[in-house]
Symmetry: C2
Subunit: 371 residues, 2 copies
């Protein structure tokens, strides 16, 4: 039994599964919110799956139904762009555990009540398994996977879990495992959410009064890690916000303060706090080497997938050395891998911003692969 | 009218002031909690003022009255150490705005109620002015000033505000201004505190139920910035906490998570949330160049003070380039300045830890200055 639905501009499919999760639980049914652009060609060889980051969604190149803003990667996906609906069948699915139409803590469990914290803890591999179910449903067997940040982790997991299905893989500003510092920042965010009395152990959906303050603080802390120190200095420095001199109070005196506050406040309008807990947990659990006997190269033995990795020199969240260690593992496994570190002042956020070299690299890599 | 008091092991003095603050307000009286070690010699030439960091206090080399732990800098201060009570008259004062005996938001205003957020917003220079009042009270005119992190900011401010009083100045792991990223991290901490409903606009003293959750989150976020990425990886990596495998829940699975939680929880027992707001604000306001026409060298023109600066190669909170820019300004001002970058895996925290080179450098610098 399966059926398609549309909620507003949101398309989703509910599949029976069952989806066996790394945590040992079984998820059934599995609902997946997704968007597609372009059409699948005759031999189903032009499919590209785009994997989104922690707070991203399936609206990679179409208006966000909540914010009304353009898609989050319109520089990469669109007419005349490296990933082009005129040539490619583009799929982007909301990750398992998120809040834009896919099964997650906000969706109803068998008893009709939201799962909340009853939702099983998931992994990046579980997200990928759910995506594979969607692609089966869409008649896509072989594909190219592209993603940045957590999206890159999914791309790596795709290549390791379904090597025969992945022709080419593009991993941007990502890592094969979460470092202690990565985990530490996520833990601060989770503690900020769970310390908010409105979190109520996760059971806040009926209240219509979610833990917005805690989620905003979590977003603020995370947002600092997305920007480079130089970028912050260049953009804000110590410039004051709409005032001539210091206010000697606790309002946002500095532009960087009001910018961060805005980042926190605007985020809570579009994201679910419990989903933030579950997805950050999945990222912290991610360690592709650990899943393969402790040796990252084992994840790629005998693979025929072509790999393209891109890092940014000012990214201190997933620094270049993380990409380099992936490339070394791919080389050790005899995989075809290309790697470039691009220069950008934007830190980790660069993968979402206007870095022309990034689009040239991806365009060239896809075309060289016959896409 | 002045008098000395002892609260338990806490010594403090209440001076009439008045203390004219950078924010335009007048503080009177001014209470200063402090500790001294050793004795002032006949010509009052052996005084060393130690300036503490954001969450430090006057108990530099004596038991903390709340935690019962040893002083925070016993590696630097003590018998046979670079700063030695047998040779030096050592003074360490709780900074204005803090919560260990000096005037701050928790102390009583004229109406007998705690100032709370009625306490005036202060600056690093205000802290230094209060320290100067204490030293006058103690009969100390000329001194050597030593401090790390925010303590180093006070040392710089001492040299700029009272050049004729400062013989030698030791600035460790510090900066002459707070960067946009420094401000951003502090703003996250302040928002975490003010988002805690128990903060109650700062009026929580009577409740005996302070905003501990918000303060703990603030401390967790700040603590990450005190450690290096490599140090975190070396110390914790992805090691699990007291378990064989992932718990697939939201308890502290990773050692780094439980370590951070412990840092947050233990901090709230010894620190006041409002003091955290005021002191972080003072640090964010600190920009010594701005106080001197935008040119840092102007802060040191004609100074006879000897300067010693130390930075640590893995400190990303106040990186080496910040110390270097101070040295360049000192050179431009014709001041006597020595500078060394030390190698340590501990990040910013190195100034508090066992880095023998640090003690050798400070010992040599003080002795060369006749101390």
């Amino acid at each position: 039994m399966e059926h398609d639905q549309r909620f507003g501009t949101q398309r989703s499919v509910t599949l029976p599964g069952p989806l066996a999760l790394d945590g040992g639980q079984i998820l059934t049914p599995v609902t997946i919110g997704y968007e597609t652009y372009g059409t699948l060609n005759g031999d189903a060889s032009n499919a590209i799956l785009i994997c989104h980051a922690l707070t991203g969604d399936q609206h990679v190149a179409s208006l966000h139904p909540v914010t009304g803003k353009p898609g989050w990667w319109t520089r990469m996906v669109g007419e005349g762009k490296p990933i082009d609906p005129a040539r490619h069948f583009i799929v982007c699915a909301n990750v398992l555990g998120s809040c834009m139409g896919s099964s997650g803590p906000a969706t109803a469990a068998a008893d009709g009540q939201p799962y909340a914290m009853r939702f099983p803890v998931i992994t990046i591999r579980d997200m990928v398994r759910a995506q594979a179910m969607l692609l089966d449903h869409l008649g896509v067997r072989v594909l190219t996977t592209v993603g940045g940040s957590m999206g890159g982790m999914q791309v790596l997991e795709w290549a390791a879990t379904y090597p025969e299905r992945v022709r080419s893989a593009v991993i941007v500003a990502s890592a094969a495992r979460h470092s202690a510092q990565n985990i530490a920042f996520h833990e601060v965010g989770r503690q900020a959410i769970m310390a908010d009395p409105k979190w109520r152990g996760g059971d806040y959906y009926a209240s219509n009064d979610p833990p917005a303050d805690g989620l905003a603080v979590a977003r603020m802390a995370a947002h600092i890690t997305y920007l480079s120190e130089d970028g912050l200095t260049e953009k804000f420095g110590r410039k004051l916000q709409a005032r001539e001199s210091k206010g000697f109070g606790f309002d946002a005196d500095f532009q960087v303060e009001s910018y961060l506050r805005h980042q926190g406040l605007s985020f809570v309008d579009r994201f679910d706090a419990n989903s933030y807990l579950y997805i950050t947990r999945a990222m912290d659990y991610f360690d592709l080497a650990e899943e393969h006997g402790g040796l990252l190269a084992n994840a790629f033995r005998g693979t025929k997938t072509r790999f393209c990795l891109v890092s940014f020199d000012t990214d201190w969240l997933y620094p270049t050395r993380e990409s380099r260690s992936i490339v070394q593992a791919l080389n050790a496994a005899g995989a075809a891998a290309s790697f470039v570190e691009l220069s950008s002042p934007f830190g980790h956020d660069a993968f979402l911003l206007d870095v022309p070299e990034l689009f040239r690299v991806v365009d060239g890599f896809l075309k060289a692969g016959g896409l």
